[in-house]
Symmetry: C3
Subunit: 268 residues, 3 copies
């Protein structure tokens, strides 16, 4: 693991994020919108959900980063995603792709592949999504849930990073980040997290927020560590997944260096 991604560096990135309060433009799915906004606010960012073709380019131009998530995609929304991405690219603003459910249907896979070809800064997905996006078959996902472990997708993530130029983050019990060359493993999170909807989507939004203050690979590692630590801290006193989203927001809001050290660990 490079020093760039040590806990101290990650905590410094969080402090920078809180100081800068980046405006994160989200074009995301209906299920994840409210949670993503709350997570970004608790983290210290300023979220906005803006999707009309009539304004996405203007909004991308005033934002610090863009998060694109295809969870509840439809052709009008995909059109807006492309407009926003093109403007973000033109202005050199970072953007994150979350290819939700890639592999589940030909339409979804086709859109994900097309967007992945538009030079995202970071692609974040579960193992099934990343393997499908990299053109590997393996075990298909079950709808939007992965049937493979993140470990199984590290090769696919490396391939995908080389294909697209993006940093690729594949999340699961252990998370992996790769730029196609080096690789970081993030040990954080909790087994209850997959039982609360849209936490992965919110993580992608968090990744976009960090991408406003750090280069892609450091941003992805910071997002995974901070969000995973929040999830792990949040789950300590729960008997089920019901209060997990609220508790994660509180953990993000109160996140300090000690919490990061206690609940997240990075290895090379």
């Amino acid at each position: 693991m490079s020093q760039t991604n040590s806990i101290d560096d990650i905590f410094e990135a969080l402090q920078d994020l809180r100081a800068r309060r980046p405006l994160v433009h989200n074009i995301t799915n209906y299920v994840a919108m409210t949670l993503s906004a709350n997570v970004l606010l608790a983290l210290g960012a300023s979220p906005a959900m803006v999707h009309a073709a009539e304004e996405v380019e203007d909004f991308a131009a005033i934002s610090d980063a863009l998060a694109v998530n295809i969870g509840t995609l439809s052709p009008d929304w995909v059109k807006s995603m492309k407009l926003a991405i093109a403007r973000a690219n033109k202005l050199g603003k970072p953007w994150v792709l979350d290819p939700v459910g890639c592999g589940a249907t030909p339409y979804r896979t086709g859109v994900a592949v097309e967007l992945a070809g538009m030079r995202p800064s970071v692609i974040r997905g579960n193992a099934s999504e990343i393997m499908s996006l990299a053109g590997q078959t393996g075990k298909a996902g079950k709808g939007v849930d992965s049937l493979s472990a993140a470990e199984d997708a590290v090769g696919a993530a490396t391939t995908l990073a080389r294909q697209t130029g993006a940093v690729v983050a594949v999340t699961g019990a252990v998370d992996y980040v790769t730029d196609g060359q080096s690789q970081i493993a993030v040990h954080a999170g909790h087994a209850l997290m997959p039982l609360s909807t849209a936490l992965g989507c919110a993580l992608s939004a968090v990744t976009a927020a960090f991408a406003a203050v750090r280069p892609p690979q450091a941003a992805a590692a910071a997002a995974l560590a901070v969000f995973g630590a929040a999830g792990s801290a949040a789950a300590q006193n729960l008997r089920g997944p019901g209060h997990l989203p609220a508790e994660i927001c509180d953990a993000l809001y109160t996140m300090d260096r000690d919490m990061l050290v206690r609940f997240a660990r990075l290895t090379g």
Copy 2:
């Protein structure tokens, strides 16, 4: 009450559901999406929200059950509902109709009637919705809230079941399930539940999940008993409706035979 619907049979259905982890395809309203996903996850199912005409047929084909809810309908969504339903029917997959607000406007009533004619496995609604859908006038609903008690709609439910071939569940302080011949009453739930939005919609999603592992009437009875028991258990220590959705998820996640026995009762 048939033995088929005793608490033991219902708990067995829940165990089967948890073991199989059915993929439930939801085409539902914006208000209910997040809650429905969280409730299905806590229950033990795998939810997905997919509505684009370009992929609903493909997604229906890989799903174990379909839940269709017209709460925030518009023509594009209705078109997708019909495509998904047709594919589910063709493949013999169960699907549940939630005719939210049927009776409130001519457009909404017309769509509900049309979908009810497409051979749903189960129709679940409140008294006003079921009475309207059965062509009875009675007291109209107040927007999406019922002004009639479920008891008042048992006749309409029986008529509707005979008209459509669906099992009909009408929910209120007491819930009733009928296939047009026999009838089951489910005593569960809590007075706070109508004060938390979209719990009825989430219940329809739960019904779809059970329909993946049981025939329609047993599925509906199991859904009402399990969800009602969860609501009743969840409300025990609350001073208002705010935390009810999170507590219901926790109750579903921790649901065991004792909780079912304590908080749900079925009569013939």
Copy 3:
């Protein structure tokens, strides 16, 4: 401050609202829908989210008030907003405009200006939105967040009220309500509230509910006082914003005269 807006008058308005249980038609953004519905239910109103052009006029006709919010606007939705507004106006039903993010993009500002010209009963926004809508430049907002204090927008609010005939409520650490002549300041709320998404949107829905039982200025003052008091009461025991929405619902549900007196104060 006029006696009309004393705490006793506000509590009486709340009691009237609970007794009448007004049906509030919401055409609002995706992020705010679930929260708005839950807040309205906890308050004692009956919420519905209905946006299809095919039924918004019919639904406006059976509703007691309409809340229009442009947070996630697109042309189809704007078309429906106009249809619903026209019908509400024709039938003399009150409606509230929430010009979310006005000033952020030309499209958004144009729509907000157009809707503000359709005789809303109340316009509720943050300082940046109200200043932009009044045609003042000042500090622009950061996406949907205000960079100005409400105090800075009192002049703009007065101008806007005179331009549109609407009562204008500008919210921040202190809230101000004006009909273009007199002005009321509402001291309530809590510093955590801007860190939980869509609370302002929910407040606009609450304003619509009060507009069903009180004239616009009294309705706006009551909404600000009751919702602000709920937020302030809710935040007492929180360590972050995560549970704030649920706690606000509980505070609204249990709101009594003592809570209002303790957590809200009005000045002229």
